[in-house]
């Protein structure tokens, strides 16, 4: 057992520390030494009410006041991050613009119909050549990634071309993880 100088005030005559003993009492996993050593047993006797009190406090359900969620979300919505818009084509006068976050939400939703693929981040940017799309995705374990990515790509391309009426300049899918929970969906 490595001895740190700062542990000294915490050390029992047998070499065990009060901190370690307390940990083991809390988890209910006393070592063989702690069960038989007289110093440890005497110290455990002193600590017992504290361990019981902490356990009881842990068993006490603490629920956040109902207003917390409402207040947080109100604040979040009131300071909507400034964002750019995607300009759609069409005949004037007047124009149609869609917020980037709305386009991102549509792109994510379009991939929901693809089994075993979930989109996380989604960035879109409009350029003279068309829309740049970059997403992160998780693919279900066992699913061939090229097939899954291909299906997700077709879903997103179709959305951009048919629903927004814009060309796709580039569409990058970054598979960041395999997802166990996405299997068989």
């Amino acid at each position: 057992m490595a001895v740190e100088p700062s542990d000294d005030h915490d050390r029992l005559p047998c070499g065990n520390t009060v901190d370690a003993l307390l940990r083991h009492m809390t988890s209910g996993e006393l070592t063989g030494h702690e069960r038989t050593c007289e110093h440890c047993r005497a110290q455990a006797e002193e600590l017992r009410p504290l361990v019981t009190a902490v356990r009881r406090d842990g068993e006490e359900e603490v629920t956040a006041p109902s207003g917390l969620l409402t207040d947080v979300m109100r604040a979040v919505r009131s300071e909507r991050r400034s964002e750019r818009t995607i300009v759609l084509g069409g005949t004037g006068p007047g124009g149609t613009e869609v917020r980037e976050s709305a386009v991102a939400a549509m792109l994510r939703a379009s991939v929901e119909a693809v089994p075993g693929v979930v989109v996380g981040r989604c960035r879109v940017e409009q350029t003279g050549e068309g829309l740049f799309v970059r997403v992160t995705a998780r693919v279900a374990v066992g699913l061939p990634i090229p097939d899954a990515a291909g299906a997700a790509r077709r879903a997103m391309r179709s959305l951009v071309e048919r629903r927004l009426g814009l060309p796709v300049a580039r569409l990058d899918i970054d598979v960041v993880d395999l997802d166990d929970s996405a299997r068989g969906r």
């Binding site: 009410p49 406090d57 629920t63 969906r185």
Partner: protein, 191 residues
């Protein structure tokens, strides 16, 4: 589209999405994803704040401010996997600031959370072991109480606590030791 790769499946509810996906979406400004995260963590956040500041109204303020800060700073989080630990640190810092600000305003001893409204009924309730612990905790100097709560009730390591409270791990150990000595003494009647 789905027909190209397999049969159509029922669309998964957002609340069933993996946490990392929700975090990434919230980083992009998806308020709905963030709301699911807040629902998931609000009880833990509030309990953590309450244990440090030991006052329900103040814990609510701390929890709210911390969660809004988390929303603002989410885009800076590099690794979505570490969201929970990062959230925890944000709440911890906020709660500690609240405790420090209070100490600047109020002389020590003027305010004893949990104990301050003690009338005959509360006195009777305090016969319970858990109540005795909360009362004894409230008597501790805040730096000791905070370190002890983080260690023994929230299960943080010495290094983590040291980083949170801005002290050395050695100083943290000392505070926890002194806090424990006081608490053990106060709970002696229950032995």
């Amino acid at each position: 589209m789905a027909a190209e790769v397999g049969s159509v499946r029922p669309v998964l509810a957002d609340t069933e999405l993996p946490e990392t996906v929700l975090v990434e979406r919230a980083q992009d400004g998806d308020e709905r994803a963030f709301e699911i995260l807040v629902r998931r963590y609000q009880d833990t956040v509030f309990r953590f704040a309450l244990r440090i500041v030991a006052d329900p109204a103040e814990a609510l303020d701390v929890a709210q401010e911390a969660l809004v800060t988390v929303w603002r700073k989410l885009p800076e989080l590099d690794e979505p996997r570490t969201f929970a630990a990062w959230l925890y640190r944000t709440v911890g810092r906020r709660a500690l600031n609240a405790v420090r600000a209070r100490r600047r305003v109020e002389p020590i001893g003027e305010r004893e959370p949990f104990a301050r409204e003690a009338g005959p009924v509360e006195q009777a309730l305090a016969q319970g072991l858990r109540e005795a612990l909360l009362r004894a905790l409230a008597e501790l100097p805040p730096p000791q109480r905070v370190c002890w709560v983080l260690r023994e009730m929230e299960g943080l390591g010495y290094e983590e606590i040291a980083e949170l409270v801005g002290a050395t791990p050695g100083a943290v150990r000392g505070r926890i030791h002194r806090a424990r000595t006081h608490l053990v003494e106060e709970l002696r009647p229950w032995r």
